[in-house]
């Protein structure tokens, strides 16, 4: 885990701006793709989480939280309160769980596992938020579907993170 203690304020500002814009572009690209033909609509890969994961794994926790919060604010501006609440709850729960596992297992846990856990808990966080907004316990019927979907999405984003790392690494230099 590199710590970018040597970064200047300006460098950090620029880094945040670039990472956040990559996150926005990824989510726009994802929205433009046709919906996946699966049983539950709304299931997606969460491509912009690649940026959050990159921030957590290779920069620091603060950077990752910042990107997650900025993402939720962007959703608030473009898609409204409910969507923003979902983005925020999913993002924060996912980050908290990934951080927890990183602290607990350190070098023993792989990025693939972390990514899968992050995606699964992103869904759990969102479902919790949905169950508060949509006052119904029956919504938990979807948990198994969302767990499996999260697992697949987490594996996919981990693979994409692996592919895009050479490019992202340049940002730190």
């Amino acid at each position: 885990m590199n710590n970018n203690n040597g970064l200047t304020k300006t460098h950090r500002l620029v880094l945040t701006a670039i990472l956040f814009s990559i996150a926005i572009v990824l989510s726009v690209v994802e929205d433009a793709l046709p919906a996946l033909p699966v049983a539950v609509p709304g299931i997606k890969f969460g491509l912009s989480n690649i940026v959050v994961m990159y921030s957590l794994f290779f920069i620091n926790k603060r950077q990752a939280i910042l990107i997650a919060v900025l993402k939720a604010l962007f959703v608030l501006l473009t898609k409204g309160t409910v969507a923003a609440a979902l983005s925020f709850s999913g993002g924060i729960v996912s980050l908290a769980v990934m951080t927890l596992f990183l602290i607990l297992f350190k070098e023993k846990i792989s990025y693939l596992s972390l990514s899968i856990l992050g995606a699964v808990f992103h869904n759990i966080g969102q479902l919790t938020a949905v169950s508060f907004i949509y006052t119904s316990v029956y919504i938990w019927a979807y948990l198994p579907v969302l767990l499996i979907a999260g697992m697949i999405a987490g594996a996919a984003t981990a693979a994409l993170l692996r592919c895009s790392m050479p490019v992202l690494k340049k940002l730190n230099g």
């Binding site: 919906a35 990025y111 596992s113 949509y134 767990l147």
Partner: protein
């Protein structure tokens, strides 16, 4: 650091937890009588008993391009729809309380609810 053997443990535990959850959920609600409610632009348009054991194909009066199919085993699905994305048809057969399928282009929502507990007057959604 990217892939490790213990990834298998993570993957397996997620699969096992979802399996157990799904079974527990099915078991908890399987003996409860259920009905399906069909909403047309947020208004309850049609209610159908799923435990009757009858098999039939029907549509709601507001839109006869969308066809529902009720199966003998008490499941129901969107069989056909004229919408472009067919998300409603992909949702497949629903039978467990809480399952929902929607055809947003046509403004139709199909949901499975307990037969007695909740009425159409209960709030569907509360946004603060």
């Amino acid at each position: 650091m990217f892939f490790k053997k213990n990834d298998i443990i993570v993957v397996l535990s997620i699969i096992i937890i979802s399996g157990i959850w799904w079974l527990a959920y099915k078991f908890m609600f399987s003996d409860k009588p259920v009905k399906a409610e069909i909403y047309y632009y947020s208004e309850l348009a049609y209610t159908i008993d799923l435990n009757s054991g009858a098999e039939k194909t029907f549509s709601i009066p507001q839109n006869d391009n969308v066809i529902f199919h009720l199966y003998e085993d008490g499941s129901i699905c969107f069989e056909q729809s004229d919408c472009p994305d067919k998300v409603c048809v992909h949702a497949g057969r629903l039978s467990v309380i809480g399952e929902t399928a929607a055809c947003l282009p046509n403004g139709i929502v199909l949901k499975i609810v307990p037969k007695n507990n909740r009425g159409a007057d209960d709030p569907d959604i509360i946004i603060g």
